[in-house]
Symmetry: none
DNA sequence: GTTTTGCGTTAACAATTTGATAATATTATA
DNA sequence: TATAATATTATCAAATTGTTAACGCAAAAC
């Protein structure tokens, strides 16, 4: 009988999520590993950047936790290298950072990280973040979104507002789908570029604006807000 | 843009957690409601699936308890419909089930439930589960600061006071977020410069004052105190 | 095989917002 | 009160975004 199993445990058990941790401090490595194993994740570890890259290729994890400061290649470098390879394009990456330094975080986001955890690591925060990321991952790509009168169907690639179908081009659709996936959340321009255009492609800054404009125009409703100097957010 | 959703969220933090119960048996509805009210939860009820969806949208609960077997739409269907909407992506959902039927439970978990309670309902079990779920939820809560009636959401890049949204420019927001991150602590002018402007940028001393002034003005409340010759601190 | 169509991108410029500073007034404190 | 520190205000330069039009390109239609 499966009753009283909590959702996160079932998910991690069912899907056998694999996590790679890279940190040069053995203590941290051990604490994190212990907590993740407890939640039925499969865990591999690495002591430096190069080892992390090797392990990533061999172990093919679903999520990678990278210490930013490591001997040899640092976390951001590792992230950049991995993101260049199609195999790790969709792999979740979390940075561990000692500082709550905003500059580092921005650099991290630019290199395509999905989240940050600041040291000292609280096991509870860690687990909740990991669980949240997996939950999001498992949900986002599938199914359809419904926000008020706006329907976004990721499978049929279609948008409708108050029953009226709206034809969006691919990039426009992905842009809208991304913003609408978390109403209210401000997506940085870099996040948008990474998610919609991919971390390898380099396009000018105006490109985003123009697509935003097209989406706004086609939707005909004011639901995308500009946060100047930061990014865009969706709010009906 | 004033967001209704955020207002509702703020309210829910202020007035305690909101719970929606959906069950077609009035007795059960009443028992559960009674127990939850006793623990200072805010409670709404629904007698069938469609009503549950309506109530969910209107009441915006933090937790929804769904009877699996209801006339019209059953609990699993309701759950699936709600989970499609980003607004309910993180809402806790508990199923009530009379059977300890394994198949049903798996289906429930697949549709994104967070837990199960088997009937007949034991008030003790019910409360402990509800409390546990909220404890977990509150720990997962990331980035959003709440100080009294003031809410600072780093992710949404938004500030609201008593439910009223306040538009801050980037530097203003970062300045406030920094000060509010440690209420009571006095931040030296140098600390502020390093955190908000970065250690490389050089700006005059008056610049800080001007930004402080703008924040004070926009907030409309006296929560930033000047410590002459030292710096500034936040205190509601 | 050619034409057409539509998408994604960029350039160029307009419009807007932001942030920094100077100049001046005000306040706190020795 | 004298003095240094901060508050206020207006102004301007810089940064950011909005808008339009045009171009290359690929897929679809002819």
């Amino acid at each position: 009988m499966i009753s009283w199993v909590n959702f996160a445990q079932l998910l991690s058990y069912e899907y056998g999520q694999k996590i790679l941790i890279a940190d040069d401090e053995p203590d941290i490595l051990e604490i994190i590993q212990y907590n993740l194993l407890n939640e039925n994740y499969e865990v591999a570890t690495a002591k430096n950047g190069d080892e992390a890259i090797e392990q990533a290729k061999r172990f093919n994890p679903d999520l990678i936790m990278l210490d930013i400061m490591m001997p040899g290649k640092n976390g951001i470098e590792v992230c950049n290298i991995l993101r260049m390879q199609p195999a790790f394009k969709d792999t979740l990456i979390i940075f561990l950072t000692a500082l709550s330094d905003e500059g580092t975080e921005v650099k991290g986001l630019e290199s395509g990280a999905d989240d940050f955890i600041t040291k000292p690591v609280s096991p509870k925060v860690l687990l909740s973040k990991v669980n949240a990321l997996f939950r999001r991952l498992n949900k986002e790509d599938t199914g359809s979104l419904l926000i008020g009168d706006l329907k976004i169907d990721r499978e049929k690639f279609m948008v409708s507002y108050q029953g009226q179908d709206i034809i969006l081009a691919r990039k426009e659709f992905e842009l809208l789908a991304l913003l609408a996936s978390k109403p209210g959340k401000v997506f940085l321009r870099n996040e948008i570029l990474n998610q919609v255009w991919g971390s390898e492609v380099i396009v000018g800054d105006r490109t985003i604006d123009v697509h935003i404009r097209k989406v706004r125009q086609k939707l005909g409703i004011d639901c995308i807000t500009t946060v100047k100097g930061v990014g865009y957010k969706f709010d009906l």
